[in-house]
Symmetry: C2
Subunit: 399 residues, 2 copies
Amino acid sequence: MAATERRNFGIYGPGDLFQLLRDGRPRTRAELVEATGLARTTVASRIDALLASGLIGPAGEAASSGGRPPARFVFRAESRLILAADVGGGHAKVALADLGGNILARHAESRRVSDGPELMLGWIIETALALLSEIGRREDELSAVGIGLPGPVEFSSGRPNNPPIMPGWDGFDVPGWFATRWPVPVLVDNDVNVMALGEVYEHWHESQDVLFIKMATGIGAGVICSGRLERGSEGISGDIGHVKVAGDEIECRCGNRGCLEAVAAGPALAAGLRAAGHEAVRTSADVVDLAASGDLAAIHALRQAGRDVGEVLAMCVNLLNPSVVVFGGALARAGDQLLAGAREVVYRRSQPLATRRLRIEPSRAGADAGILGASRLAIDHLLSPQVIEDDIAAGQPAG
Amino acid sequence: MAATERRNFGIYGPGDLFQLLRDGRPRTRAELVEATGLARTTVASRIDALLASGLIGPAGEAASSGGRPPARFVFRAESRLILAADVGGGHAKVALADLGGNILARHAESRRVSDGPELMLGWIIETALALLSEIGRREDELSAVGIGLPGPVEFSSGRPNNPPIMPGWDGFDVPGWFATRWPVPVLVDNDVNVMALGEVYEHWHESQDVLFIKMATGIGAGVICSGRLERGSEGISGDIGHVKVAGDEIECRCGNRGCLEAVAAGPALAAGLRAAGHEAVRTSADVVDLAASGDLAAIHALRQAGRDVGEVLAMCVNLLNPSVVVFGGALARAGDQLLAGAREVVYRRSQPLATRRLRIEPSRAGADAGILGASRLAIDHLLSPQVIEDDIAAGQPAG
């Protein structure tokens, strides 16, 4: 009874103590007793358990009134390795990180998600092994895996859920597949949520209410409310790409008409520019490059895409009242042209109270948002009080 | 240092123990030691502090292996009184509740919020005193006040924030005004948030992601994500009434054109019905009554209002992926006509994954949603670990 009841009320064992130490500041046993209200013997046994796990270590000596100075303990971010993977429609990136979210090594290349899960996941493992060898670390130091995929994912099970551009992935048990190779926790989420996590954790931690908009081959949003990623009841929040913004003459790949994606995502912009004579323009990056070269048609297309997404964003801003909207993804690298269109509509259509302090900004994490967020997903799970407590209980008698 | 640091990490003193007892189940000291991991002496002193505060009391005897049975302690919901007020544009309701949220007495009458804050708040206090006398309780038993107001409110300060239909209220210090009469916490929020809280707490507690839509003189939403009311960075989330759904020929009182409120709220429907010959139709209630009498124009107007709000709702459903959308407010009493229009558009426009288990339902709390939510606002504050700890520390040496 006790462990379950504790958890229901947010009260834990050694994992709780550890949340204090996670900030990186060294503390003595006496300071931890003072900070938690736990009994001295409880603190002592929990410290022992955390020392044995390697998550904390001794940290020099504290000032003392005399005699032998008391020991201090500090979080060891280097004690575990995280594997982070960011899978897009036509590219993939793998990284190793420590428990502080610092990227230690990375590798990116063109890979097609449509080749199916076994090829992609096999490549992720091969790449991880190569990166481990590159930085001279062991396979058994890997403690968790975080993966972002370009489609809806049921977060609780780690299975893609009817993803439109990922043949062979629907319902595929990604954590189960990994478990046969590495017995570590595997966290899987859609790419937009993962990018939102990476962006916010690294660059906007002072903001509690953030909308992250990804504009590339598709258009989606990551919703952060009160500092927490909100996935919704089915784990598919943020699906703004199929809101109707245009007339019925425009067909969308989803089966509906007039969807935001059908007019403002990379393929729609590229198709428009091809029709205007720029026959080589295929991808979001091509559109952005063409605009950067000063081509007026491309600049106008990006500006209009910003206005189109602005129509939907104005409503999101009224509904959620975020303090920051961050634009990421390959199209967002266009920067001002796109953002100016979005700002124009949001400031016209949203309520004045909702926009007086609103910022609409380009991504700061850029192309790293995905691996930063995927590692954060894994770290937040691995260092949660419940998981730490379970780990310690499995490894030795609990404190 | 310690108290602040504890709070930053969600670790408290006596208030923490109390969160376990809040479920109403009696527990012994030994059970509380087991459940919290706190030292026996700490549990004993915290129990003493909570007993002295009256928030818990003895609860009969537990089974024991022999000798004198150990004492058990239980939450006393009756130990404090809450004043809840639900202020609308043309009506107001005052209630007294216990700490379990049970309404002990209530009174409603026609009152104009446009008469200004001093008249309205003075009337709330007079009414509260009359209700106290009605149930034979004392003024000093009132421990917190919760108020819902029909406009934007800065929740942290309890001040209305540029409310459009509340002359004299802009920036008015509602908690400060009360403090000169009753030195108790006063929580103020907008009426839609308050109704959403009341509705969800009483009737949808198994749902973590809920959208509450109020349709009456205005149209607004209460956003519940992961079980928590999300107010946004300026406290004005849920402002869906001014999303554009119609052409520029329709003016809205907000200064924009084509807003949802300008075509689908009570005044717009009543004006349309007056133009069609129903000259006596003024309010949302008049529209609903006319439809209930079988008038086809009124039924069509409600159905179309449902479709109009459905256009906005379809986008909210894609963005937030709620499990339930609840319709409340005077227009929502029309029930099926309105909901059928909304369902029609949401099921057509939202993504299949977002609607496969979505429920769109009428309010269950009905006219009581406001007072239930206002009392919940006050109770959740009063029984939060931090407030309990502060209360106990102020009243006696802390445990």
